[in-house]
Symmetry: D2
Subunit: 345 residues, 4 copies
């Protein structure tokens, strides 16, 4: 059994880790830390876990995280980089669900996140935790920067096209929509039910932190410079993320070949479902599961491709993906503990 610790388990990615790991056959939940909630049984904060998770929150100093095999950080940006060096030195693997180890470019990190990076040297060995694109590196990694939710959809949606070099890489548009849980469990006015319900809006159109991460990764797939317009929107739903991606073909290719390109690319992937050409993936078809669904469209058979991508932002977009990485790092089957079927309706 893998001994698992969670730092910062009071947020939504934390409780989602608990939901997955409490039923994971190869995991023993060992410690979960919260400075504020020291001593509180996890199941008192999250009654959904009553009878299933006996663990209590403990303050970080008492938690003995160094006895774990792996520690997940479900914390705000900046926490993991403060604690990762000591854990790694003690032989503990680290998976950070925040942004501390996502960007290789320290200057970009410091500009977008407004803080200094305290262990830039560790960045070199940090592995970007998107298994479909980075599987081998993840297997041997000690330190994972788990991808952002939006970047996961953009990368898996654009990847086959950029790698094939058949779209204009400098003219990508991603019109993305997220459920409210994507903003985390924060007591902010704009996230209140009475503000976010029966409402729709864009936000951070001038610039969102997921841009540098996405561009850094997309650039790896492309031999020409990547240009990306990214427009996030807030949807009145709890979970779910839908990205509508636009790309211009720079070559002649028919729809069957496009579809085949995607199907071949992902044919061995357990968590990427390429739907039939012209499908409309719904976010609810992924609710509670680690599956991401993709469908291709080509309006009027013109040069513009529309790629639709749907996922559960807390699963494939965060905690599910993190467990997928853990499975790889410990030589387990990649799908272990991640076979939950989507809840519909």
């Amino acid at each position: 059994m893998i001994k698992v610790g969670i730092v910062g388990g009071t947020g939504y990615t934390g409780v989602e880790l608990l939901r997955i790991l409490a039923a994971h056959p190869e995991v023993q939940l060992t410690a979960i830390t919260s400075r504020k909630e020291d001593g509180l049984p996890v199941a008192e904060m999250y009654p959904s876990l009553r009878g299933r998770v006996a663990l209590k929150f403990s303050s970080p100093d008492k938690a003995n995280l160094t006895e774990c095999d792996v520690v997940f950080f479900a914390t705000p940006h900046g926490v993991a980089m403060a604690q990762a060096p000591a854990l790694l030195a003690a032989g503990v693997k680290v998976i950070d669900l925040a942004a501390d180890f996502r960007l290789q470019d320290v200057a970009q990190f410091e500009q977008w996140y407004g803080m200094q990076h305290s262990c830039a040297d560790l960045l070199k060995e940090a592995v970007y935790g998107l298994p479909e694109l980075n599987r081998e590196a993840i297997k041997s990694a000690r330190l994972i920067g788990n991808p952002g939710c939006y970047p996961t959809t953009m990368q898996l949606g654009f990847y086959p096209l950029l790698k094939a070099g058949i779209i204009d890489a400098d003219n990508l548009i991603a019109d993305c929509k997220s459920g409210v849980s994507g903003a985390g469990r924060k007591a902010e006015i704009s996230l209140l039910f009475s503000e976010a319900s029966d409402n729709f809006k864009a936000y951070s159109v001038a610039g969102h932190r997921h841009i540098p991460e996405t561009v850094e990764q997309l650039q790896k797939m492309s031999s020409t410079p990547v240009g990306l317009i990214f427009t996030p929107h807030l949807v009145p739903m709890i979970r779910g993320m839908h990205s509508t991606l636009y790309a211009k073909l720079n070559t002649t290719i028919d729809n069957a070949a496009l579809q085949e390109l995607f199907e071949k690319t992902y044919q061995n992937e357990a968590f990427v479902d390429v739907m039939p050409f012209g499908s409309h993936p719904e976010t609810r078809s992924t609710r509670g599961s680690n599956t991401l669904r993709i469908a291709l469209h080509r309006p009027g058979n013109g040069a513009t491709l529309v790629i639709l991508v749907a996922q559960d932002n807390l699963m494939k977009g965060a905690s599910g993906q993190a467990v997928q990485c853990m499975n790889l790092m410990f030589g387990l089957q990649e799908t272990c503990g991640l076979t939950q079927l989507p809840i519909l309706p």
Copy 2:
């Protein structure tokens, strides 16, 4: 492996059965019927099942249901009673999620459901499928009438009190609230998003079909005549049911003893969670799981008890309970295939 057939799998209890059974370790999904959708892969109607359920709908005549070990009816009232006799004769067990085999009183059935009962003789052997109150009979049953969603909450909430004889049985009030999926997957105006969202209302206050079923069962627990006021309401949420039950104590008893009464009654039940006295169970703490949660209140320490009961109407209120019965009928562990953790948020 138990060979399972489903009649009428296109509704919400049907797809929920599929979600459970597709991951059930002792079940082989064998047939699913739909007159209208003959030949359609189940996963085309429900993309949430893509890659997980390979079955196609077949018309009833082709379905070879008699080769199944058990057949679930997730159909409108009246369908199961037409087909159950032949299946039973062929040695197939039957679990009906509709009302055909819930009521022992044929006159009541015919009055409330507006149709003749075509196999009243079978009613005598039909077992009411509420395992917590009826476990032994279910184990040896061939034919199960699976309880209604509201009745499940009312029975499990009132049971310890009625059995102990410490409340006025003729003065029960159940103010119940259901998510919209409780009304089924029917193309009706009143169930449209634009009608049911951002709205709350009572319905069928003059009389609802779950009254005779509930009274018939409550009466079995009580040595004095039962009188029940039942007021159902529609809540703008997909899943979830919350019943607020009111009962008058007819004796002197302190709160600790009341709490102990409930805890002892359900101490060995895997799917009934008696929360601490004064708790407020949330429906979402049961979302997607087979757990029902109960909490006791006694405002002002007076004679009126308030019992709060929450469940997922499609799980413990319907399909989860049906699989719980199936597990008992086939000698499996009662929790087999029913250990899904609630999805929160």
Copy 3:
């Protein structure tokens, strides 16, 4: 034109006052205070008011509230009682939407609200602002305690029955459901979209601040002691309140007479709609309007009456009612500025 000031206009009752008063033909919005938002145009916080409300928030010291004819307090409990004496002394009328002037019983106030009452002497002249029950007193009042949202529904629902003396006053049950805006515009975790959506729960069942207010008022209608069980619930909708009231008849009376009792009681009321016997009022049929709707039910023609009451908690339950009081205090037509039709869908 009546010069109107608003203290604490950043909450939901504040912005609702603004929506009403900005279109009120006899009102000139003169000042709106907010300590935190001094200088901010109201329309920047509430873009819904762009082009319609030119006012800026000003800090209380700059606001010259004494030049107003009337000041509304849309503030937390405790603010109005600190400022009302000076305003009244300056000849300004005061309408408090919080609880400072609702209860005549100071001990009850201090017990339930956990603060001392700083101007208990003013309570004697404070008038409870429920026009349907208290119209003449409101007309000549200088100081109004505007009713709570839940108490409005309970009082208007029980009033005809208590006044007629035909129900057991000591055995009233009110099972009430509120939209989330009833909890105000507060940055609290439990009010987040991801917590409150797709969920239903009871809260404060052990005791809610609206109990003493309601009992104090109901007692005025009844010659026998009032006993009330009040169970509030949170509904995943923005606006809307639905109270399901239970009362035991203590006399023989037929349904037509009951219906007539309600219709006669409210026949001249512009904002109380007695629907046909057996109707199910929906909250959305009141959304954005000052109308409260009532319908009577008598399940099984027994002794228990079920009274259904629906309103918009921010209108008849708060700001609309406050403006109704203002109209009466200034000799305007009671419906002036309050003729908005409900928004449906």
Copy 4:
């Protein structure tokens, strides 16, 4: 007083017309037809109108529509073209909220709507009812084709740019999101609460009927050929529409000049609100009102402009716009009866 008739008042644009017109100071509601609901008081179908609309539905033959001054068609496509000729001949003005008189190109109409046009000759005099772009023609029109909801946002968002000739007209992208009421009051499975809630999806990406209408109108603004990719999405909210428009600048222009271009274009428009550069209009800031809000963005100060447009799909997107046209046609103030403030929260 203008005598107004409504054909097909049972849908959402119908009840929204009723909400507006029942409070319109210059209108007398004279007739409302429904074949199915003949004799039913309108307020029984829509309790929100109780006490405010006394009219009953009448079957078309009894309705005496020829005595009206103007008739609104809130009907499925194809109804208005069957009845308009006789009404026009009788001197009645006609405003069709469906598509019968939106397209000048009959072949396009017949291709996209799958029916023959029965009065193509009338198309020549039909006026496209978008007042901001077509005011003078509307004033003297007898027959109005009221714009579609999506097309209204796309036209008002792209218009200043296309007219100025500063964007690539052949490379427009409109990623649009609509509340569920946009699909009408139809008993369809996909519109059920349990299907559409807590979910997000694109639909009709291969081609939507609003494309030919929009392209026909956009082409009028542009001296070069228009190319449009239009991707509609369904949002789990009742009302509201948000269009995220993408256009490539073909010239050097700074943001201040872009902002000024929009502000000048719409400076005299009562119902178009150009927000400060970089704003994020929310749909709820328009809920229940006839105002459409626009904001400009230019990510990274590059060549791609992002134009955000929000409106209430039932108001500016349908019934509000139709009444705006009526006001113009009858020489009333354009804002008459259309000054409802948005409901927020």
